[in-house]
Symmetry: D2
Subunit: 449 residues, 4 copies
Amino acid sequence: MCAIVGIYGNNNAARLASVALFAMQHRGQEATGISSSCDGKIYTKKDSGLVSEVFTDEALQYLKGNMAIGHNRYSTAGSDSILDAQPVFAKYKLGEMSIVHNGNLINKEEVRNELIDKGAIFQTGMDTENLIHLIAKSSKDRLRDRIKEALNKTVGAYCFIVQSRSKQFVIRDRYGIRPLSLGKLKSGGYIVASETCAFDLVDADFIRDVNPGEMLIFSENNEQPESIQLFEPEYRPCAFEYVYFARPDSVIDGKNVYITRENMGKTLAKNDANKDLKVDMVVPVPDSGVPAALGYAAQSGVPFELGIIRNHYVGRTFIEPTQEMRNLKVRMKLSPMKSLIAGKSLLVIDDSIVRGTTSKRIVKMLKDAGAKEVHFRVASPEIKFPCYYGIDTPNQEELISFKMTKEEVCKYIEADSLEYLSIEDLRNSIGADRNYALESFDGDYFVTK
Amino acid sequence: MCAIVGIYGNNNAARLASVALFAMQHRGQEATGISSSCDGKIYTKKDSGLVSEVFTDEALQYLKGNMAIGHNRYSTAGSDSILDAQPVFAKYKLGEMSIVHNGNLINKEEVRNELIDKGAIFQTGMDTENLIHLIAKSSKDRLRDRIKEALNKTVGAYCFIVQSRSKQFVIRDRYGIRPLSLGKLKSGGYIVASETCAFDLVDADFIRDVNPGEMLIFSENNEQPESIQLFEPEYRPCAFEYVYFARPDSVIDGKNVYITRENMGKTLAKNDANKDLKVDMVVPVPDSGVPAALGYAAQSGVPFELGIIRNHYVGRTFIEPTQEMRNLKVRMKLSPMKSLIAGKSLLVIDDSIVRGTTSKRIVKMLKDAGAKEVHFRVASPEIKFPCYYGIDTPNQEELISFKMTKEEVCKYIEADSLEYLSIEDLRNSIGADRNYALESFDGDYFVTK
Amino acid sequence: MCAIVGIYGNNNAARLASVALFAMQHRGQEATGISSSCDGKIYTKKDSGLVSEVFTDEALQYLKGNMAIGHNRYSTAGSDSILDAQPVFAKYKLGEMSIVHNGNLINKEEVRNELIDKGAIFQTGMDTENLIHLIAKSSKDRLRDRIKEALNKTVGAYCFIVQSRSKQFVIRDRYGIRPLSLGKLKSGGYIVASETCAFDLVDADFIRDVNPGEMLIFSENNEQPESIQLFEPEYRPCAFEYVYFARPDSVIDGKNVYITRENMGKTLAKNDANKDLKVDMVVPVPDSGVPAALGYAAQSGVPFELGIIRNHYVGRTFIEPTQEMRNLKVRMKLSPMKSLIAGKSLLVIDDSIVRGTTSKRIVKMLKDAGAKEVHFRVASPEIKFPCYYGIDTPNQEELISFKMTKEEVCKYIEADSLEYLSIEDLRNSIGADRNYALESFDGDYFVTK
Amino acid sequence: MCAIVGIYGNNNAARLASVALFAMQHRGQEATGISSSCDGKIYTKKDSGLVSEVFTDEALQYLKGNMAIGHNRYSTAGSDSILDAQPVFAKYKLGEMSIVHNGNLINKEEVRNELIDKGAIFQTGMDTENLIHLIAKSSKDRLRDRIKEALNKTVGAYCFIVQSRSKQFVIRDRYGIRPLSLGKLKSGGYIVASETCAFDLVDADFIRDVNPGEMLIFSENNEQPESIQLFEPEYRPCAFEYVYFARPDSVIDGKNVYITRENMGKTLAKNDANKDLKVDMVVPVPDSGVPAALGYAAQSGVPFELGIIRNHYVGRTFIEPTQEMRNLKVRMKLSPMKSLIAGKSLLVIDDSIVRGTTSKRIVKMLKDAGAKEVHFRVASPEIKFPCYYGIDTPNQEELISFKMTKEEVCKYIEADSLEYLSIEDLRNSIGADRNYALESFDGDYFVTK
């Protein structure tokens, strides 16, 4: 999970890119970067930290030019935040290029080993370096052909933007797993971004999603971006974007994320309808469980209540609690609304259960606060398989639903009942017209080397 | 608006005080400080910044002892964040003391001038300095009597905690305008805090509110705090705490804040019931408008929807938008949920309208996003008078309801309709059993010099 | 030891004050501050850190007005760098004032207790607060008379600058213990500063030293500062300024510090002349021992060599050396010039010996580097008494010359011989025309309460 | 100009490397970095800033293992301090390696273009990347043979240390232009460092200089480093190290830097001996001119005086002086000792003149301070050619001695006389037994592609 953006044909390119990255900060808070191009030179500024910290006025003034690409990096274990920040810049035979990437290349190691065998060096752990090498090593004359050739050797879930000194090449894999949309800036030029929530902030009109397998080329020669269909599309957008990642006000593949989440909640309610379940209120785990909880409440008629308060001041560094204050860390982020829930039966909704530890703590916190019963509902199916398509999931052994049945998980988290969406439910909640990437739930790793 | 806390009789006093201040960060983000007492010496650490930034492990280790008082300072125009941070420490005739204060002394200038006439000096603009001077100048032998004498000369809305080298004196004004509650720490000792949400985080049981006009004295001699009724109580808790300031999970004067806010929304809905008002959804201005919007939705049956998304990454410093990006600042904090609201009639609920500029921008943002109608509802009465009892309100000339009728405000913010709670509605929503401080709404400045 | 400065009648007052403080950074690196006055208001900015860190352009723009006072604070054990920074500001009966102070009031506790008895409070440990209280409590109508009255109750070594909203009052104690000089700015107006090295940097011409017991008053009414002789002068400038504190390019009481230090070295050489001492080179302990070593070399004919190199990159925070790297800390600051000194007999000159630990380490370091003999010479007499007149010396028990004879010290530091200046030598080296404050050497605490 | 260090076979490897880099901070203050190897993995930490800032305890704990290499980077125009920091890490066919480099490759562009032609990419502007590519592309099986092959294509002045997961390879070019010495750590293992001043601080004994054209290999298999003579040596150590770069306590090629500088000063004095030159004192431009000035004084009998004081508090950021304070920037670093020099004839010694602007300002400053005459002496020959062997010199057009004769320079800097060392003088001062790299003086670019 990361965010990418490209701005083309606007004199405020870097500034608009930074605003778009700001709107997509939820997709990555570890590091951020922007490359602009101006007069045949590429300027890059990247660093660890939030968008609002890295892109000072001074930084934005350095990033001259009317085109820019940008990236927000999600924190993953073992990565070096400064060295692994994007864009990745390189000088190569045709000049200079800079690349941003969102996704995961599943044949990364094979390509890497093959390249290394031929004498290539890799300075980071990022798979973005693969693409750069493949482009640089291509024997084609034009960058577009080099990119094509490179992509022929690249398997995975990816969205790339390659910026040369005067052009931008936008590519989305044939499955369209990771989202990518095209918009028109009211102040001139185009924007391509991982999520449409970025369009609103930079005052851009949504044109369409970038098609699976499509390459868009922005250049001075053409008023409109050139479109080349590189690969036969087999559209499989990632279901997890709807479940958890995307901002609720984004629209992915024509579907508003918030509404799909409400649908998930409604479906959970329908599934509970014929049960003899008596609960006093529907309580979301904030913030991600809120739309599903609203859907559940609307469908079931059970009142929706903010029974858990989220504290937004939790920073990155704070006092390590002593032994006496063990459960402090959870409670510093989430607080139970005691007066509201004491003596009540709660229907608690979260977007997903990964390891089960957080769910367990939430149930305990609510019961400690006096809840009579806690019925846990999950607005997604059981996660039994790790994702290799761009999402940072733990090893399969750490996935609680790989190790336990639903009944065992229910007991482990000490809930009074536990229900998930079925895979079919999830598909229907998002929209039955489409095949989705569901590998975390069904283990169908359809992207094969 | 500020937060204060006192911890007495616990070896982790400063650490617990910092956690309590963290839970009350919403009451002040400008500066924070703690004084502890140990072996006859008072230790103080205060600085500008958030609780999680100021109270590093090193700072907490410096703050030795089993008693501590703390303060979060709200940013007010013209104040110097470092110099005006609390606690305020002083050496005086009986030794050392340190004071925290939440509130506002309305006879501050008179007392100050009188003291200055007699040769006193004032090093800051804080009214806390007044009390220190009055205590120091008293001729009484015991600190408790000096405090009493000082309070006899002090008029206003206040909560003080005075810490000497071995005792803590907690005082709430006779009207109980600012909240202050007493709790028992499960790990030993007592806590006094502005809001009960702090109790949950430090694992304390609520005992009772500190009474209006009461002085509590914590000392080694007594297992339980000694209680002295200094003044005849005339209980008038501040209505604004329920409307806006307090965290929803706090309980003030026996009333859960979240529930009173839901009641306010329900009352707005009842008032709208006999009107011929057709709206598609109830939309809160996040985060403070959410409970009232839930109440309105529950009462009216109109669906509740998160039509406005709040971005929590807005930091203190970010790029100043250029002319082309004028409305960026509002939208960086709040985003409309376009797909949800386009073509819809919205019933938007905010907690209050002060100057009207934010409300105007919100209405415009929603209409730009396609809303057909925006009916604005305010979960409090019209604010016509500045508050002198501890809340940072602008001059009367800047209060839109001082200058305009309801109809004029509705036109100014370009809403399709506008309704407030009446003062009576507000009182009933919180609880008809009590007289509240409502001076911002009715101009009844009952605390007189 | 601290530095103070006053600028009067120049539109760049705060900027010039910051430059003067920068020139006097050697007198205090812990904290720094400036108060300016403009249109009846006093502006203050103070913080911990170096002058170049605290006085950003933003800070200097805030410090409006054509008069300013400033202060550099020396780090002393137990002080809180932010709270004890100067200037100290206060509102009092006649309005506002701000004060900077260099020195030490020896009747501080008595005055403080008396003031506290009468109801005064003290918020810091600084003796500057004493003067403010005394001024504020005076019954006189004019500030100058209040200051006079306050000084009548003040005993010690002091230089004060009191700034009101339109005037500056400069006072030096009757003994002139701490230095203070008056200059004329080429860009207009006046400067008063602890050391004349500040004059060079701000382009000012030295006029004269402020006289012992004199008060200078700068005001709009008078082109020239008004001079009032408050006390009968008994001039006793501090010998330690010449020995160690002052920058070598400063002129104190008409004597260039560098030249007096050369004289001290010459005297040491004369004292050694009739001994049968064979050394190969004179080596200073950098930087403070350099002028005396040059004097010794010039007088004796023994070559001067930089046998010890000083590393100027030693910052405030660095790796704590492990057990294996014990002596690292000294050597990170000072390195022996091995090739130069190996097998040689050295005459090492330092300005003073306080506790003896540094001298011991230096001798060891030189011997480890191969020095055959190390003859230690000290360009001051034995320090047997703590200073109470503004210098941060340790307790008498820690002064090695209080506990040991010269022979014992020589043995302790493992030098081959050890010589000090006699008190008479020191007086003659600075200038026999004057009586000096020599209390650290002779115990003559002539400033009595 | 940069510094490199390698530590092999010591459990405190990274810590010792950081201490050695601290001792060589004068060779580069822009950025610093260390790579350690442990259990088959290479750990790297690098950042902009001083050694004492970057290498916190946390950083050093991360850098596990018993071998480490480190680098200090000198600031050069146009470089990105973070991206261009060293060591440079890469994964390649044989595993992982990390490299540090001091010097300059003069065939950098040719090699780069050739590599790029074959499909290589370059992510930075550092010539270190060249070597990594050449090593990675070599077809040899062993790293030592790959390095050899890579060096066969590499022309320039260089010192490299290549660290694999278990070995270190140290290489110095055949001319030995940049210094590199081998030492034995008293706490176990070996150190290789640019300057011997690092040995003193880490408690190491100097063994010998790394030979020109030599490769040293440290591995577990051998107690002693293996030595391979890769190239026929043609020893030409850089004269500029003696003139300016190296710390005075370092020994390069058997010659103590301080003593060679004294010799330069003595030679200047001998050259002046038969002139009718009457000066009152020898004044060094601190700090680099001090040893030569001591030599001049010793030879001539003219007294040595510190007529210019250097302020060591000059930080990286400070107030930009206004127009009125134009000459402030020079004077903030250097102050004239007015009382000492007023009315006197000075013989001022600096190590070199590059552009002439600083010399001009120094002469003006001294004359403004009252100096009667300023005779300028330069302890090196006229710099007429830019250096391509690792020293950051300006373009030839900016070199004042390229554009002007000695007489013209003298007039330009407004000195009363000006003398340089001849090239022969310089060679003799350092040691006539050796041929030096003197290209900046004589234009003999002996390292040819």
